[in-house]
Amino acid sequence: MTQSLNRIAAMTARYYYILRSSSLRLLEIIYWPAMQMLVWGFLYTYLYDSKSAMASTAGLLLGAVLLWDVLFRGQLGFTFTFLEEIWSRNLANLMMSPLQPFELAASLMLMSLIRLVIGTLPVMLLTFVLFGFNVFAMGPGLIVFFLNLVLTSWAIGLVVAGLVIRQGFGAESLAYSIMIVLLPLCCVYYPVAALPLWLHPVAWSLTPTYVFEGMRAVLLDGTFRTDLMIECLALNAVYLGMGFTTFVALLQSARHKGGLLTMGE
């Protein structure tokens, strides 16, 4: 157990060194969420000031943007940290070391969390300072939303990392594109009711749907939907297990295919 924690700490230190080595990288983590928030923030201000019917739901927009970013950046943080191993041709060194797949996954999760805090916390503060929207007004529910979205982002990150190991650079673009598939289905900006009936089961099979529905319940009705969050956590536990199993299976498949040694060339 101690050895295992030591290896996770070693890998986290390795990723932290990379992050620390370049201020541009650090800036990049904040840059995209900040730019996105500015665009949506000005729209929020416009809607809020217009006194139109939309004004009352303007806050939903910003809340949704912020939480979507948690999901998107969480997955990017996980996958990009992993891709670093491929780009630096270091994967075989790791696979030849006593590092176990779950230890690698744990360190990637930790790093995704660190990148997420660096990227989203300043943006949340910026949103409050510039647009007066306080995301923390969602109360302790925000922590549950955050947790659920992060768990989902890790499950997806594990599958993408496995696919990159199995398929090589051909699967790299999935790191950017996979989340976009979820965007229309997990009802970020509109309720599930807005989808055609036949898509409802699909939407409810996706964990972010529960979070965004939960967020709307908090912001519109002031109620925290515990039932939704428990279902979401349970579903996330299943997805995370499936994600890790897929990661290990794809890693094993890559060992059969024989590409681990030359990966990144």
Binding site: R14, S88, G258
Partner: protein, 275 residues
């Protein structure tokens, strides 16, 4: 006969021959115990689609030996080494290290071995010190700081220690990679062309360090190289591969004698052309 064996070509079922040295005969040695040889490769095959990259390879490396794995480009050396490391799963046969099957039990033995290969790089954005620290912790090295100090001294890394690894010269990178390969004081060391990018002077220097390590530790070394002088200087025994198969084995001097050649270089060229 197992199900797999029924689908294999007949040549895969031929018994392992015990010809030139006892180190070759897997059949008489228990491979799955702590007293097992450091490395045992038994009927090892790797098929990629229709191509057999490694085809019925057998050899044993006793503890404390340095064995050279030779062959031209595409001979199957790197695939063989990758299977010994457990990075590639054999299509048939098995590769054992210190009594453990590397396809299924690699995690039991990985902390006791290490490797260096030109196909693999150390993280370029980390400094040399950071890389050694990270890998030392991954291997669970006790007294890591002291071990790193030893390696700094042995490989004269003091002047590059706080430099970013990716910006070092090829020779400096090789020294760092070899230092990383020795960080856990491995019992089994796999080296894939360890001096390929070095000038003759530096190559001789690295060889001397490797020889000193092997002697001090009593380590087992499997070395792949195209440099026959290097192989003659370092290796007790040589396995020569061609087209995925072993075409000759023996001590370097014996091989030259057997093939009526002046040195291993000539043996290599002769076998490459004949095979």
């Amino acid at each position: 006969m197992s199900r797999i064996e029924r689908f294999l070509p007949r040549r895969h079922l031929t018994p392992v021959s015990a010809n030139t040295t006892p180190a070759q005969d897997n059949a008489s040695v228990r491979l799955d115990t702590e007293d097992a040889p450091a490395i045992a490769v038994e009927r090892l095959c790797k098929q990629y689609r229709t191509h057999w990259a490694v085809d019925d390879v057998n050899f044993i490396v006793p503890k404390g030996w340095t064995v050279g794995l030779l062959g031209g480009n595409g001979a199957g050396k790197t695939t063989t080494i990758a299977m010994i490391m457990g990075l590639v799963v054999p299509s048939f046969g098995r590769a054992m290290v210190l009594g453990h099957d590397m396809a299924t039990e690699r995690h039991k033995v990985l902390s006791r071995m290490n490797f260096e290969s030109p196909y693999v790089a150390l993280p370029g954005r980390l400094t040399v010190r950071q890389n050694l620290m990270v890998f030392g912790r991954l291997y669970g090295v006790a007294n890591l700081k002291a071990r790193i100090e030893e390696l700094i001294e042995d490989f004269e890394l003091g002047d590059v220690l706080d430099r970013v690894t990716g910006r070092l010269s090829a020779g400096q990178k090789t020294r760092v990679a070899v230092a990383k390969a020795l960080i856990n004081d491995p019992e089994v060391l796999l080296l894939d062309e360890p001096t390929a990018s070095l000038d003759p002077d530096r190559a001789a220097w690295v060889r001397s360090r490797l020889r000193a390590y092997q002697k001090r530790r009593g380590a087992t070394v499997l070395l792949s190289s195209h440099n026959m002088t290097e192989v003659e200087q370092l290796c007790d025994f040589v396995v020569i591969m061609s087209h995925g198969r072993v075409v000759a084995m023996g001590r370097p001097g014996e091989l030259a004698e057997r093939f009526k050649c002046r040195d291993l270089d000539e043996v290599f060229i002769y076998l490459a052309r004949v095979a």
